[in-house]
Symmetry: C2
Subunit: 276 residues, 2 copies
């Protein structure tokens, strides 16, 4: 497989760059081990990635546009409960409101950190994560420092992620690292995933939805094969309907970020839809 | 004048909503007073807004794209010194690097806060500003909480701005409030400017450059007529050449945010140019 070869080659280079030797795990052949290592906690289907009938538990019901008034956040929360989505994904200023609205439900609050540019200093990202957690968030979707990665400063990228991972670990929250794949070469995508792994993140995520490109099947497969089954892979950006979502899940995604969650679980195809 | 009528009507409504009575100042007829009140500090031309021959001192030389490696920040700083721009405007993670590079020059470091969505909690925005200032920033371009404004929560909008104004005032830094006009009605633009004024900001700014629209001559004129001459008005987003810049300055802008600063001062027109 061409993709496998790419990952193998790049991973070897990356491990050499990072100076961390050790075994290189590739592909989707670690299901047993993954289950033993808590893949269930990440919601990953351990059955060779058959796409389940109901997609609801894959969906982070998302509104991140800046001009959304608070009432829309209430609606988002109510819909997430009604459709049994995994989480709502919202901007930090609305976390307290959403957590109050969702009290007693199984729907988690996910908030964003360093979003969508990722170009904040690590200490501010960590504080932003702690504050969101204090306000009720139990999942953090942080944006990696893309410029530092492009400039080869892997230490900064890893430290940046680790600060948020630490904040999350204190309360058992999940840290999802957005690598903003549209800006990266394939090699850089693999490096980004490895750095997220080394920094004890729980998920890698394709896109913010605010960059020039969203999730692709290729990127999801590359990311899944890079991280194996010990981490989650979230596909986000431009996922408009059930067909898009199923393609991402088949490629290895175990979480879908979308503003079109209701259309996705209703099985409607196409249409203009809300923007992410 | 239709625009004057709009501002007068809206301002009266806004002051009623905000419950702050007092005199309503309109138009560009306060030059003397403005000079007495420190307009010079804001770089505003007190001569009825004739556009000066050299535009360099109007320019915030800007790179905010997330995939820019650190070397590009060095180049930006060197260009700002060479062309005598007012400031470089960069993401927080590069402030320390830029401040070091610009030591001994007259070029200021401007950094962004809550950028570009503005949907952070006020305490994190204030911390982000303090950290940028500690790292060497002397101007802060913060994004207003657009969603709170759309939802009518003026108290939150004002408190959010005031937290950053306080951080800035401690060291004499400038607080520029981005209202992200593309999302606002004309009435909301005036409300936003009034709230920025009440929260002791130094500038209002049209746009982040990341939203669906950038600076327009209409918005700049509306903002200038709303705030009078005691505040600065920065036009940003989609300003590609000298002709664009001169139109904004004629309309009342006293600062221009652009990645095309070199083209602007070189007088070249049109062309594709760098994106903002």
């Amino acid at each position: 497989m061409e993709r496998n070869q790419l990952i193998e080659t790049v991973t070897r280079e990356v491990l050499a760059i990072l100076g961390t030797g050790g075994e290189v795990r590739l592909g989707l052949d670690h299901a047993d081990e993954a289950v033993a290592n808590g893949a269930a906690r990440l919601g990953f289907c351990g059955d060779g990635c058959d796409v389940p009938t109901s997609l609801a538990q894959y969906i982070d019901h998302t509104v991140l546009k800046p001009d959304v008034p608070p009432e829309k956040i209430d609606t988002l929360c109510d819909e997430a409960v009604q459709y049994n989505f995994a989480a709502v994904c919202i901007n930090p200023v609305w976390v307290q409101r959403a957590a109050r609205r969702l009290r007693g439900s199984r729907v988690k609050v996910a908030s964003v950190v360093g979003f969508p540019l990722g170009a904040n200093v690590p200490e501010i990202k960590a504080m932003e994560a702690r504050r969101a957690i204090r306000d009720g968030a139990r999942e953090i979707d942080m944006v990696m420092n893309v410029g530092a990665l492009k400039g080869g400063d892997h230490e900064l990228v890893q430290r940046d992620i680790a600060g948020v991972s630490d904040a999350c670990r204190e309360v058992g929250a999940l840290n999802k690292v957005i690598i903003e794949a549209c800006y990266l070469t394939d090699e850089e995508k693999v490096v980004a995933c490895r750095l997220a792994q080394l920094a004890h993140a729980d998920f890698v995520k394709t896109s913010t939805g605010f960059g020039p490109g969203g999730a692709t099947v290729f990127d999801v497969a590359l990311m899944r094969e890079t991280v194996g089954l010990k981490m989650g892979v979230k596909a986000a950006g431009g996922i408009h309907d059930a067909s898009d979502a199923r393609a991402m899940i088949s490629a290895g995604a175990n979480r879908i970020g979308a503003s079109a969650g209701i259309r996705i679980v209703s099985g409607d195809e196409g249409g203009s839809g809300e923007s992410y």
